[in-house]
């Protein structure tokens, strides 16, 4: 199978590889996929408390070149977005940007799932961290 130039570029020069501190309340971690299925993505976001914008994103991926490229691209897209804007990112954007063939669409779906999982983790942590801001009983 021939890879698109953009997939090759992300594979050869993956952006934002690495890990953020899982315990930081401003960091959300999403881990999706399974080793038996041949792909696992870990995607993390760090949200700036003042601006509410995603100031950093990191990934690590076990998977084919298209899975690596999808998650690498996802971290690029996340930076500078609000959490709500990030939630609206759809896999089709990744498919188009990377020119993924039909058999590789699941890689982009996994990347979208990873974004949603990271945001969900972030929101849970925030809720647990700042209970005082919203009174539990009206």
């Amino acid at each position: 199978m021939a890879y698109s130039d953009k997939v090759l570029d992300h594979y050869n020069n993956p952006r934002n590889v690495g890990s953020l501190d899982k315990k930081d309340p401003n960091v959300g971690t999403g881990m999706v996929g399974a080793p038996e299925c041949g792909d696992v993505m870990k995607l993390q976001i760090k949200v700036n408390e003042q601006t509410g914008l995603i100031e950093d994103a990191k990934f690590k991926t076990f998977g084919c070149g298209s899975a690596i490229a999808s998650s690498s691209l996802a971290t690029e897209m996340l930076k500078g977005k609000t959490v709500d804007e990030a939630l609206a990112i759809q896999n089709t954007v990744i498919v188009n940007e990377l020119s993924l063939p039909p058999v590789k669409i699941h890689c982009s779906v996994l990347a979208e799932d990873a974004i949603k999982a990271a945001i969900s983790d972030y929101k849970q942590k925030q809720a647990a961290h700042k209970p005082a801001l919203e009174p539990a009983v009206a």
Partner: protein, 404 residues
């Protein structure tokens, strides 16, 4: 050294120039139909075909009359299994094979199942070998055929063929072996190995594609098979169709060269394979060899690099041609059924690479491949969340994965 480097010699081999030289005249000036009995053009071709038959028979310890020409191993396997099933239908309807056979055998067996035959698919031991006790238990009074490959195309494990053949003989059951990976690589002898029917092909032994052969025993017992194609009754009535004379000449020459050079070549390739293995094992942690190395083709290495997905590895070593058991490299998106049959776990299958060394590989190429693989595996492990977790001491088998 030229790139890309070809290390996928189980898929196919480049043709030996000596084979091509032997074939060339039979495309042009020596074009006769080997079945033309009444003029010199036909005689010339017939002589060439009979010479090839001798060369092939000699390599496997058979008599020339026991060699039937086909279009390749897929046809040979189909002809052997369907031909025996039809011919011996009155005696029984049970066939024994193994889960790790080539699709040409497995799908032929499945076809027969639909037509009322019963097939036992033996599982393999973790080391890739057939469990002979299981085979023994699988025989019934309806068993007419056992078909087990000589050496596996993915993991290179060589089965105890002589022992399997003896067990079949004792029970009056015919024994067929798909020997495409073994012939010309390791000594194969149909008498010593108790083989009744054997498939081989040209393009795995530095010969041409599109030509193969089936050995069909004529004595002790005299094996009969029902032809699968109607026509002129060529090849003792077992396989009709005008003989592919240039291809047959090439297959014969490939066998003659193999017979002469096999011992030396096996030693050389075994040395290179071991060097490759030792380098990979010395430089990388958590690499696993698939299939026992004790009963193994000298030119094969199937190895899994834990926490690295096979297709992404192939992408990184794109100037080296190898295969992976990873699902992503297969049309079906299923990881290697051979590795799964060993109970290796899908993750090990996804991480596997098959190296197949061949006659024209040099030590320089193997050194280059080893260095490149080590480099890319390291890079991909930096990218791998699984490697990170394993290094943190997380037991990956206990993690609740969100399977998709």
């Amino acid at each position: 050294m030229k790139t890309p480097i070809y290390l996928d010699n189980h898929a196919t081999t480049p043709m030996d120039p000596r084979v091509l030289d032997a074939m060339l005249p039979y495309f042009t000036e020596k074009f006769g139909n080997a079945a033309s009995r009444n003029h010199s053009f036909g005689w010339e071709s017939e002589v060439a075909v009979e010479n090839a038959r001798k060369q092939i028979a000699s390599l496997i310890g058979a008599s020339p009359k026991e060699i039937i020409f086909t279009s390749g191993a897929t046809e040979s396997n189909n002809l052997a299994i369907k031909g025996v099933a039809e011919m011996y239908a009155e005696r029984g309807n049970h066939i024994i094979t193994a889960a790790t056979e080539h699709k040409a055998v497995l799908d032929t067996c499945k076809h027969l199942e639909k037509r009322g035959y019963r097939v036992t698919y033996l599982p393999l031991q973790q080391n890739g070998l057939i469990d002979l006790e299981m085979l023994k238990a699988a025989f019934t009074d309806k068993t007419i055929l056992v078909t087990i490959m000589y050496a596996n195309n993915e993991i290179g494990v060589i089965q105890p063929i002589a022992e399997i053949g003896r067990m079949c003989k004792e029970r009056g059951v015919l024994f067929h072996t798909d020997a495409v990976q073994a012939v010309g690589k390791v000594p194969v002898n149909v008498i010593a190995d108790n083989i009744d029917i054997l498939s081989l092909t040209g393009h795995k032994i530095y010969g041409p594609k599109g030509v193969g052969a089936l050995y069909v025993r004529r004595r002790n017992p005299r094996v009969q098979i029902t032809s699968q194609m109607d026509g002129g009754g060529h090849e003792r009535g077992m396989r009709s169709g005008t003989l592919n004379v240039p291809g047959i000449v090439g297959l014969g020459e490939a066998c003659a060269i193999a017979q002469k050079e096999m011992a030396e070549e096996a030693k050389r390739l075994g040395y290179l394979r071991d060097k490759l293995r030792n380098k990979l094992e010395a430089e990388l942690d958590e690499v696993y060899i698939n299939g026992t190395m004790e009963h193994h083709l000298p030119n094969n290495l199937n190895i899994s690099f834990a926490y690295v997905e096979g297709e992404s590895l192939l992408m990184g070593i794109n100037d080296i041609a190898v295969s992976s058991g990873s699902a992503c490299t297969s049309a079906t998106l299923e990881p290697s059924y051979v590795l799964k049959a060993l109970g290796a776990g899908d993750d090990i299958a996804h991480s596997s690479i098959r190296f197949g060394l061949g006659r024209f590989n040099t030590e320089e190429e193997v050194d280059y491949a080893a260095a490149k693989v080590i480099d890319v595996v390291r890079k991909l492990r930096e990218l791998s969340p699984l490697y990170e977790m394993a290094k943190e001491g997380v037991d990956l088998s206990k993690v609740q994965w969100a399977a998709h």
